[in-house]
């Protein structure tokens, strides 16, 4: 539904509600029981006063010019009372007028008795005309009132819409709605946010009955309905609770105190408030789109920068490293270096350090790419044997001073993963195992097959993990305090767990405690590889 249509609906509703004796919020507020009596009595007293004035006027005029059309004169207070105060004072004025005419002006004077039949007919005719006239006048008054109110409401809504247009954030908007409901319509509106910082509001508003709050929570968690009206138990006041478009704003609800009144009247008010909220939600959606576009522009610019940086870094830093590593590999094969132990170990050291630098640059680049674009794995059925084999080969130099034991089941099912990412993750686990366990100790790689997944685990005999370290593990840039002397960026395991998660798997760490070694395992999803046609594929 377009904004325009919604606005129209709003107007119709305003008109509608007046037909149904819509009690304007202001009037409604005045309708407290003790006030109501006084409010009804004043117009009637005024109507009677008018009749009194008319009688006095008639006496004066009658003393100069005897009048025949006395009932006609009494029409004046009826019409005035009915137009000003409605049908009841009009009728009162009509009856009082008839009584006064009878008492003061029809013979016998100063008695309610009537001698003349003509007079009886006169008075009855007067009463009839007066009743009709007061009815007409009262309707005129209602119509005028309605159009006034409609005009006022439209003006208010217009102001509200303009207010909405100036909102720059969804928070502004929520406050504008609250403001409109509270100040213009005189309802008390309270925002109930699922989390206090959703709108920067404190969730613990005072004066919101617990039942209302619970209803709000119920609506926020259930997706079925978005609004409901409930009567608060103690105060017996009706509250409208309405969720605020969860898909755009996160979870929140607005609760509006409607007061007491007949259920019909409350339904109408609820309808009205609902329309206002709908209006606001439409604006909110526009606003969200605007915000999203702005955010996208910023993201796009950031991305261009980041891509330039990633491209630049990978070329400018990794190309020299590639020639250092390549040159080392050539030097290492020359007779002069081969024959000299010292030179040989120096070349090896250069190569090691350059390789480590390259690995760290790659980690930073990977982290930047993950942050920029997330991970988009290309899932392909892969043999876990190949994953382990490649990871171990990649890390052969890091693992050279450890004893690597691989226990692989020959019948592991295939896994549906991006093998490059999983290899890199497993390589990271091997690297960590080598880094945090003393040279010469055993690093074990085990495999286990469970329903729906294959688990690959790396166990070392190193410094292990404390409970706290286990919790922090896998956080970006986390480095255990005990191991700050070991070089590293703290990115490796974060990248590994991100890669594994992107492949639909998970990463777990276990340790019996500090100094007792650690086991880090990857769980990778398998599928049903025993498809019926699989057997046919190998028929010769």
């Amino acid at each position: 539904m377009s904004t325009f249509q919604r606005r129209n609906r709003l107007r119709e509703q305003a008109a509608d509600s007046s037909k149904n004796d819509f009690v304007s919020p202001r009037a409604r507020h005045e309708n407290r029981p003790q006030n109501r009596l006084a409010a009804g009595a004043i117009p009637i007293a005024a109507a009677l006063t008018l009749v009194g004035l008319a009688t006095a006027g008639l006496f004066v005029i009658n003393s100069f010019v005897p009048l025949n059309l006395i009932p006609l004169f009494y029409m004046l207070p009826v019409v005035v009372a009915a137009t000003r105060w409605g049908i009841a004072p009009g009728l009162v004025a009509a009856l009082a007028g008839a009584a006064a005419a009878d008492f003061f002006f029809y013979p016998p004077l100063y008695s309610f008795w009537l001698d003349n039949r003509q007079d009886v007919i006169d008075l009855l005719l007067y009463l009839l005309v007066a009743i009709v006239a007061s009815n007409l006048a009262a309707r005129l008054k209602t119509a005028a009132d309605t159009s006034n109110r409609r005009e006022r409401e439209i003006t208010e809504l217009h102001a509200f819409s303009q207010g909405l247009a100036t909102c720059l954030t969804s928070r502004d908007l929520i406050f504008a709605v609250q403001d409109y409901l509270s100040n213009t319509l005189k309802y008390r509106a309270v925002l109930i946010a699922s989390a206090p910082d959703d709108y920067g509001l404190d969730a613990g508003h005072t004066g919101v009955p617990e039942a209302v709050r619970q209803e709000a929570v119920k609506l926020m968690t259930a997706s079925a309905s978005r609004a409901s009206t409930i009567i608060a138990p103690v105060t017996t006041k009706a509250w409208l609770v309405r969720t605020i478009v969860p898909e755009i704003l996160g979870y929140g609800a607005i609760a509006i105190e409607l007061g007491r009144g007949s259920s019909d009247a409350i339904a109408i008010i609820a309808h009205h408030v609902e329309a206002v909220l709908d209006e606001a939600m439409v604006t909110l959606k526009h606003l969200k789109v605007k915000e999203a576009i702005e955010q996208a522009t910023i993201n796009y610019q950031t991305e261009i920068l980041r891509d330039a940086l990633i491209g630049g870094v990978s070329h400018e830093l990794r190309t020299p490293l590639a020639s250092i590593l390549g040159s080392c590999s050539v030097l290492d094969q020359t007779a002069a270096i081969r024959g000299d132990r010292g030179s040989h170990s120096l070349v090896a050291a250069i190569s090691d350090q350059a390789a480590q630098l390259d690995r760290q640059i790659r980690d930073v680049l990977d982290a930047a790419r993950i942050s920029a674009n997330g991970v988009r794995p290309r899932l392909v059925w892969t043999d876990p044997t190949d994953i382990i084999d490649s990871a171990v080969k990649q890390k052969a130099r890091r693992l050279a001073s450890h004893q690597v034991v691989i226990e692989l089941r020959p019948d592991l099912p295939l896994v549906n993963v991006d093998s490059v990412l999983v290899e890199q993750a497993l390589g990271q686990l091997l690297e960590n195992a080598a880094k945090y366990s003393p040279a010469g100790t055993v690093i074990r790689i085990d495999s286990r097959c469970e329903e729906g997944y294959v688990e690959l685990s790396v166990t070392d005999q190193g410094s292990g993990l404390t409970t706290d370290e286990k919790k922090q593990l896998g956080r970006r840039c986390y480095r255990g305090e005990r191991n700050l002397a070991v070089s590293g960026s703290g990115l490796g395991l974060w990248i590994a767990s991100t890669f594994i998660a992107a492949n639909g798997g998970s990463l777990h760490a276990e340790s019996r405690g500090p100094g007792l070694g650690a086991t880090v395992s990857l769980q990778l999803p398998t599928g049903s590889e025993n498809t019926p046609e699989l057997a046919d594929a190998f028929n010769d």
Binding site: S314, H315, R318, T319, P320, L321, A322, S323, L325, G326, S327, C328, S329, V330, D332, Q333, T334, V347, A348, S351, A354, A355, D358, R378, V380, W381, T382, D383, T385, D386, I387, D389, S390, V392, K393, Q394, A396, R397, L399, A400, Q403, V404, V405, I406, L408, R409, P410, L414, D418, S419, V420, E423, E529, T531, E533, L534, D536, A537, F538, D540
Partner: protein, 253 residues
Amino acid sequence: MTKVLVIDDEAQIRRFLRAGFELHGYAVQEAETGMAGLRAATIDKPDLIILDLNLPDLDGAIVLERIRSWSNVPIIILSIQANEHEKVRLLKLGADDYVVKPFGISELLARGEAALRRHLRSTDREPVVRAGPLSIDLVSRVVSLDGRRVQLTRKEYTLLHALGSHAGLVMTHQQLIREIWGGRGGNIQYLRILVRKLRQKVEIDPTHPLLIVSESGVGYRLDRGSTASSNGQNELRADDLGRQRLIGDFQTI
């Protein structure tokens, strides 16, 4: 003397490639740009081309395509990005193999030699391929391991034949699937399982394959027993990791 043409715009990379190749008895020519490379490839008729993908004037892939349009000369690609998609594309365009920077000279030499040998075999019709203890007679279709004959099913043999005729070079998953199953039926799952079955017959430890090695995200390679791994960082200490492993159940064939 075997002539190798190095097309790379990075002077430092060219310098170490020259040193490395000359150390192993190659004659080296250098080209700094794609156009210069194309000219040298036409005029000097090198036996082997090392082609970098990032060239200032032409995309490396275009240089590759142009050379392939008239020559079968072995071409090894140097690529800095470890993008498997790109590797498969280049192999499809006719590259014989690739190495990813950073790499060690022995890795590149192994790839180059494998490509040269394959090129020669296509002209010389040398029928027997050897890789470690494995020998494959491509003509009589006899496979033996340490002199003992190995019985293979037809599909297993087709797979080994395809790998053997490209010994030392990578073959993409798609190439292998097409070789084995033709246009119909095959998929990567079948290939994985077939490779596993073949490994059980020809590898000493099928869970630690030394002969049929996987190139992640790209394909398989029949390793000719060189210790050069796919990563240049590893090759200084030519310490075969296999020695560190517990040698598993030996499969008697």
